[in-house]
Symmetry: D2
Subunit: 336 residues, 4 copies
Amino acid sequence: MIIVCKPLVSEEKIDGLISLLNEQGIQTHKSTGLMSTVIGLVGDTSKVDIESLEALDITDKVRRVSEPYKLANRKFHNEPTVVDVNGAKIGGKYFSIIAGPCSVESEEQVVSCAKAIKAAGGTFLRGGAFKPRTSPYVFRGLKEKGLELLLIAKQETGLPIVTEIMSLEHMHLFDDVDVIQVGARNMQNFELLSELGKCGKPILLKRGLANTIEEWLMSAEYIMSGGNADVILCERGIRTFETATRNTLDISAVPVLRQITHLPIVIDPSHATGKSALIHPLCKASVAVGGDGLMIEVHPQPEKALCDGAQSITPQQFASIVDDVRALCNIENKIL
Amino acid sequence: MIIVCKPLVSEEKIDGLISLLNEQGIQTHKSTGLMSTVIGLVGDTSKVDIESLEALDITDKVRRVSEPYKLANRKFHNEPTVVDVNGAKIGGKYFSIIAGPCSVESEEQVVSCAKAIKAAGGTFLRGGAFKPRTSPYVFRGLKEKGLELLLIAKQETGLPIVTEIMSLEHMHLFDDVDVIQVGARNMQNFELLSELGKCGKPILLKRGLANTIEEWLMSAEYIMSGGNADVILCERGIRTFETATRNTLDISAVPVLRQITHLPIVIDPSHATGKSALIHPLCKASVAVGGDGLMIEVHPQPEKALCDGAQSITPQQFASIVDDVRALCNIENKIL
Amino acid sequence: MIIVCKPLVSEEKIDGLISLLNEQGIQTHKSTGLMSTVIGLVGDTSKVDIESLEALDITDKVRRVSEPYKLANRKFHNEPTVVDVNGAKIGGKYFSIIAGPCSVESEEQVVSCAKAIKAAGGTFLRGGAFKPRTSPYVFRGLKEKGLELLLIAKQETGLPIVTEIMSLEHMHLFDDVDVIQVGARNMQNFELLSELGKCGKPILLKRGLANTIEEWLMSAEYIMSGGNADVILCERGIRTFETATRNTLDISAVPVLRQITHLPIVIDPSHATGKSALIHPLCKASVAVGGDGLMIEVHPQPEKALCDGAQSITPQQFASIVDDVRALCNIENKIL
Amino acid sequence: MIIVCKPLVSEEKIDGLISLLNEQGIQTHKSTGLMSTVIGLVGDTSKVDIESLEALDITDKVRRVSEPYKLANRKFHNEPTVVDVNGAKIGGKYFSIIAGPCSVESEEQVVSCAKAIKAAGGTFLRGGAFKPRTSPYVFRGLKEKGLELLLIAKQETGLPIVTEIMSLEHMHLFDDVDVIQVGARNMQNFELLSELGKCGKPILLKRGLANTIEEWLMSAEYIMSGGNADVILCERGIRTFETATRNTLDISAVPVLRQITHLPIVIDPSHATGKSALIHPLCKASVAVGGDGLMIEVHPQPEKALCDGAQSITPQQFASIVDDVRALCNIENKIL
């Protein structure tokens, strides 16, 4: 971390700040320029509060030069993390396809969907039991009943389950869920993240709509600092001025993350675009760019889906996507 | 709501959709153009799922023409809502100034701050006991202890308390709080909003970093549809590409909201900009633009603040702001 | 186009508007609902000024339902446009790789770079002679001299030239250039676009930093309406809140455009990200997502580049990229 | 400027870079930390190419600590610039109101509008003769004829004229124009900016839709470095995800700019919002926040305006705005 002092600040004040920092166990280097003095902070600055430094009357700017995340940082853990869910693996050389309906609607729907996904080569079943909806007046999921139906589908197909938690209060209902999903709107629900750090289950952490990659890794850090190393990152689009797609899929996030973290990265083109016609090409791009997995909404009858039908694809389309993904995985030396 | 059908769709399919809609109690008007047919939906369409309609294979586009919010809508409630907290009023002709430290740190700090705010003319005391922080490694608030200290400050000054709730699980701790704040990151924590609809206390609902004005009103609608009509909206900046300020204060949101909702609107320039030097001019702009109140971070010693010091102002600066705000309130016929 | 009237507007006023529209040769359909009347405009509404309609005191909202672009619209021209530059083709089944230095610096630099590109399998040479730079104090290109050096490189290698025009006044210097590039900052320089519509050369039109896909197609329409059908669209990233990359590559734009336009689409990962380490994976994603070509910055010695060195790759890295792109083109049935 | 080297880079390489910088006349300070070495660049770094430094293989990050603009920088010119146009002044203690129709349509329209503006207390007449329009199919201004009509209105009222230039090629037509406006889409048309630096007339420089405050000042620097010190900055909204307004007025830009530049700052709420109902409150906010002037679209019959009618206000509404602006100018000690 670097503190750039304002021009013409007295040496005395600068030395006062340096003493203050040293007292807190932070080593410093002072560099006096023509216009201003720069103080370099050495060592672990993850606990230094950048805003407090900026508030000082002698400070012009504070610039962080090392990353504030440690456990998620590739610098300290070079090997890719492979999350292993009863043999279904994500990360490193393992590619995974998580698929299923946006909302769980009925046993018939979720079981037939799971069978189709299994048959096509999908590796995880996803399905929403608790649904975050912008309006209080529309369908918000089958809740506990939805979780039960997912478990039936798991029994029928053997596919591990990924489903979203919306509140700490529901944690006890997730005992048999294989991977707990944190939705985009909860990416900075810090109380929830802290608790998930203790739950002993893999967490699929979606990126928030307006969150930077660094903030996303800091949220992963919340979970990991609680003792849970199995975090899967899921890029699902960010909010921009463009309205042709629901959000803008930030595909560059994949190679950016690859350089700075060891955590596996999954891409969700369904929520990113909100348009089923775009899913197939974006799935292919996700493999080619080096992703570790996909999350895709599949619905036996998308036109009858209770929510997010516009972004769902049919089991037939899904099978065709898996074929193309498999061909690309072969080129990329990924195991699907 | 308007459904634009794809070109060259058969009459039969269009009539099938119209029948389906009519069965759900929705009246329709069909308008056949040269290129495509348009179906107008009449009446209350707040429960119609726009995405399901978009998913139909005959649909090109769906456009909403009436607002999805009802209780927050000025069309159905023309008089401005005045939230009255033991005589401290926000909304209509009443202007309010909510001020206090970002984080509650000690009894001495919060009480001295509260006294200074009271003396300067502030009308509410704010202070964070539970603090959402991006990093798991920094100070996250005094929690229960912080709430206790706020209540002491309330006793000493008579100022009603505004403080943030971060999780449903803490609800029982907020019994003596006057106004419960929902932070930007929780604006779409729908489980929390639903619960706050039943709590019987005024809610200050901050706008999410990447949320539209319509989504914000839908979150107000969540609270209101639970039976709680006392929602105060708080604009606190949105996330854009500009980095000169922490966020971009969307001041136009105030007159936009004034046209479409009856709820009071408060502006928080501290979080919007993250820079104390910008607070004073933005407070003045907030009155002139027609806001109902301000939320300002004040700290006896901003340079020693444990968090967000960069955006805090001193009690002296605060008093000067209140003077200017009062002068502008007189021009605007607002009672401070 | 649909005009939603305000509630409770008199029939007389609505009929007045309808008469006005009819006088302008626009057919209308009136649909009277419970809350408001909707007027549908039928036929070619591309000359209707949406803002003028919105200004009427009886108008609540105006919604466009058909695209404002005609010549670029796939609805009226279903076959993909193939731009043929002396046998080098972009579009349809032809994939192209446009590569070269950000700035032309010397004959040695550009010729050696062109030879390396040719040897590796690149199909066009790009290089900046006129450089748009944010600061007036840094290198702004060799200008005329730069164009001369590009032509020498073309003679040496046979690679057609793509280079940027910054001002109408330089048009006469571009006689021997094969493809004229319009930079992101000039995407809405309408005077320039109009003139390029008459120049008889293919135009590579970069997307503006903050322009929607629709605005981009409207700029293509400017060129096409002047009589020039050879427009190549180039996605090069949009401006968002994310700072990990210089811009955010909007890869979804490729399949979105594929549905609505017949024009070829090229992707420039160099400018989109500003980071050479991200180019290779994004090139692969660009083929997999269905793009028609790539634009890549290659520099013999990136660390000595006068501008944009951070995003340049070496000829060796480029050769490796071309190999991977070729393998993916085979899968995609594209001819490189 | 600060260069953070990658971890574990050899001393030899670092010293090589330092020598290279020193050869270019740049003084350096080396600071060796536990994890990495930091090189501070001292003195004038405005000509240093930040991207070239970032491209070096030993570089991790480069951070600018001093502003790249000099002539526009308040550090070197503390007194506010007052632009004086034949006695009509903008900047310092002088507040100005620039008003007029979006497009010049007829002599009757522009003269009657000018008279109304003059009568109400407006100080400049604006009007578009050359109009940038997204579509090639709609009205693009009366061009030369429009400039003539503006000059007639100037003769009739004495109001100085502000009008937009769209291309270098039209420069000779602007001889009698008082203030030349550079539109948002041309903010980074660097060829145009350079030429305007030599024209000897005040320039009103609108902020680009997606440009940072720093880029905006760099564009001012282009004009100023050509010898033209009379630049007026005009904030007119930036592009964000919010669609309730056409753009998002970045009102915080005013106090931000006040701290870093001496140039006058004008606000254009008409283009920022695109909605006439929002103009009045935002004009008031613009004075209260410390702006130096306003740019407002006024049209005798907004509902008949050929373009941008939605954002125009009537002469009656304008007179009411001027009254309120005047009252606020009195409080702010500004002379209107």
